[in-house]
């Protein structure tokens, strides 16, 4: 990769980690979603009474979801069907914070103009910014996954004396859907950045991306929608295609004149 592009990416990473306010906002959501909520769900599953109605409800699930005890069935359901959806929220949130700060933030602080006077082409500047946001979002997602896995397995082991086996949903979400969703969020923010005059304004746009993910979570919880592996794979591939399309379109529409307004 071009030496100058690497320099911009490193600088953008540092811009986030050195800013305490931004760095905290980048950490809070993953901590809540990967430590507090899973911890709470598993504790509830462990202490819930053996209810006949719940037993009947669980019997409606596919046989592959059944475990030796009701407690383990519910915990497995939470781990393999509900928690993965959180890993769509985390990259959207991380990439929106990073993209808004690295692009609109630079515009707001008049540092983008200085970068535009460098020997990097507009395309290379976009490439660096998009890559920085994408890499940051993926790093946050992967660290969050490791933290969540440790918390969940430790808690399940301590409370139930066993370990959980991650389903095939996890690699699809982590390696396909989550990067694609992250890339979509980054490109949408970058597209909006020419018009947005402040970081807040640009982040507000990304909030709309969370809505379909929230619906998916509600669907998973209520059992209205139980996304199978094949649907998940199809959805992931669709998102990858959309991300690639948006990525190709993102840089082409900008001119220096538009960015310096």
């Amino acid at each position: 990769m071009n030496h100058a592009i690497t320099a911009v990416i490193k600088k953008d990473f540092r811009g986030i980690t050195a800013n305490r306010r931004l760095f905290l906002s980048l950490l809070i959501v993953p901590i809540v979603l990967t430590v507090f909520l899973p911890g709470m769900f598993i504790t509830i599953a462990h202490f819930m009474p053996e209810d006949e109605d719940l037993q009947m409800l669980l019997e409606l699930l596919p046989r592959s979801s059944w475990a030796s005890t009701m407690e383990l069935t519910v915990t497995g359901l939470i781990f393999n069907n509900i928690l993965p959806v959180f890993f769509l929220m985390i990259p959207i949130m991380a990439s929106s914070i990073m993209a808004a700060s690295s692009f609109v933030g630079e515009k707001e602080k008049h540092t983008l103009e200085t970068l535009l006077y460098s020997p990097l082409t507009l395309g290379q500047i976009f490439q660096a910014k998009i890559l920085a946001s994408f890499l940051m979002s993926m790093t946050v997602s992967l660290i969050s996954f490791v933290v969540m896995l440790t918390v969940v397995e430790l808690e399940v082991f301590l409370l139930m004396g066993t370990l959980l086996l991650p389903s095939a949903n996890w690699p699809v979400i982590l390696l396909l859907l989550s990067p694609a969703v992250s890339m979509i969020a980054v490109t949408l923010i970058v597209r909006g950045s020419a018009k947005a005059q402040s970081v807040e304004e640009s982040q507000q746009g990304a909030v709309f991306m969370i809505i379909p993910v929230l619906l998916l979570i509600v669907g998973q919880f209520t059992g209205v929608l139980l996304v199978s592996l094949w649907i998940l794979l199809g959805l992931s591939l669709l998102c990858v295609l959309l991300a690639l399309f948006l990525l190709k379109k993102a840089a082409g529409r900008f001119t220096y004149e538009m960015l310096l307004q």
Binding site: A4, V8, K11, L116, P119
Partner: protein
């Protein structure tokens, strides 16, 4: 090779405002060209056109042989730009900022360090090198911007109000540095300012711009000759011989005559002495850059008004006819 060439360069913004109107000029290496005019005259727009961040509406320009609107990134490799709006990163220290821009411009890490340290020393920022930019004063920021623009040893330097916010001592240092860069390294400096006195200290040639039009361009001597073909010669003398072409000016024993060149002075002084006069002082009043600028803008407005007046009169007459 001429480093900056503008040919009928024009820029009209989408709102219809004509910021630059058919400017043509060419600069040689080592020139410090003062592009002078009030705020809103079109100086910054011209710098942006020369850096390819704006596209010309008409005409063309070349910087170091490259068309900046077609290949901006290629042109930027040869240019350094200091403008009021081109800021650096507050969360990085002075030296970190310079090292970042050095790596963006493709300098090796060791070369970057040497160059950054040398520039910080030259611009009197050595002690502030490890301070975050957020702790810098306006003057320090301005000097660091100059260091940033020079980090990659550019052949062309664009400076937009480089001494605004600087104390007199720093401004003098920056002036000296600009002169040295032009003289020893042959850098072409395109300096935009509205401070005409400051420009007169540092520039070798000037372009005077108002409302997007280049009113005049040349060395100070050329501009002075163009504006005032005859120079006032002020002589303080007693017993001034009456036959000489001197007239009483202002105070007692102060006389004035018009001359075309300074070569006429020795002969005139000799004539005063031979005629029995005693000469105490002789001074030629050269018009300053400010006087030249105001004369040019006044002349332009007068010409414009003269052009407009017949139209206005005609419109008034037409109006009268209609009301009658």
């Amino acid at each position: 090779m001429q480093t900056i060439i503008l040919q009928n360069l024009s820029k009209t913004y989408s709102g219809g405002r004509q910021a630059v109107r058919q400017i043509s000029l060419a600069l040689d290496p080592g020139e410090v060209y003062g592009f002078l005019g009030p705020n809103g005259a079109g100086k910054t727009t011209t710098v942006k056109l020369l850096n390819g961040t704006l596209t010309p509406s008409g005409g063309s320009c070349r910087v170091y042989g490259i068309d900046p609107s077609a290949e901006p990134a290629k042109a930027h490799a040869h240019t350094g730009v200091v403008t009021e709006h081109a800021q650096m990163y507050d969360n990085l220290t002075g030296i970190e900022n310079l090292l970042f821009y050095a790596s963006v411009f493709g300098l090796s890490p060791s070369d970057s360090r040497t160059r950054a340290a040398a520039l910080l020393r030259q611009l009197d920022l050595k002690d502030a090198a490890d301070k975050k930019l957020s702790a810098y004063s306006t003057g320090m920021r301005q000097r660091l911007s100059l260091a940033r623009a020079l980090i990659h040893r550019p052949e062309v330097l664009f400076l937009d109000e480089p001494t605004s916010g600087l104390d007199p001592e720093s401004a003098q240092n920056v002036n000296q540095m600009i002169r040295d860069l032009a003289e020893t390294e042959g850098i072409t400096v395109f300096l935009c300012t509205h401070q005409l006195r400051y420009a007169q200290e540092v520039c070798t040639r000037y372009g005077l711009i108002d409302e997007g039009r280049l009113l005049a361009s040349g060395t100070l001597h050329e501009l002075q000759k163009a504006i005032m073909p005859e120079l006032p010669l002020i002589v303080r003398a007693e017993h001034m011989p009456h036959r000489l072409p001197f007239q009483q000016a202002g105070g007692e024993n102060i006389y004035q005559a018009s001359i075309r060149t300074e070569d006429e002075i020795p002969s005139l002084v000799r004539q005063i002495i031979e005629g029995g006069g005693d000469v105490y002082s002789v001074e030629v009043k050269h018009p300053s850059l400010e006087e030249i600028y105001f004369t040019l803008t006044r002349d332009r407005k007068r010409t414009e008004n003269a052009e407009k007046t017949p139209g206005i009169q005609q419109a008034r007459e037409e109006g009268k006819e209609r009301t009658i």
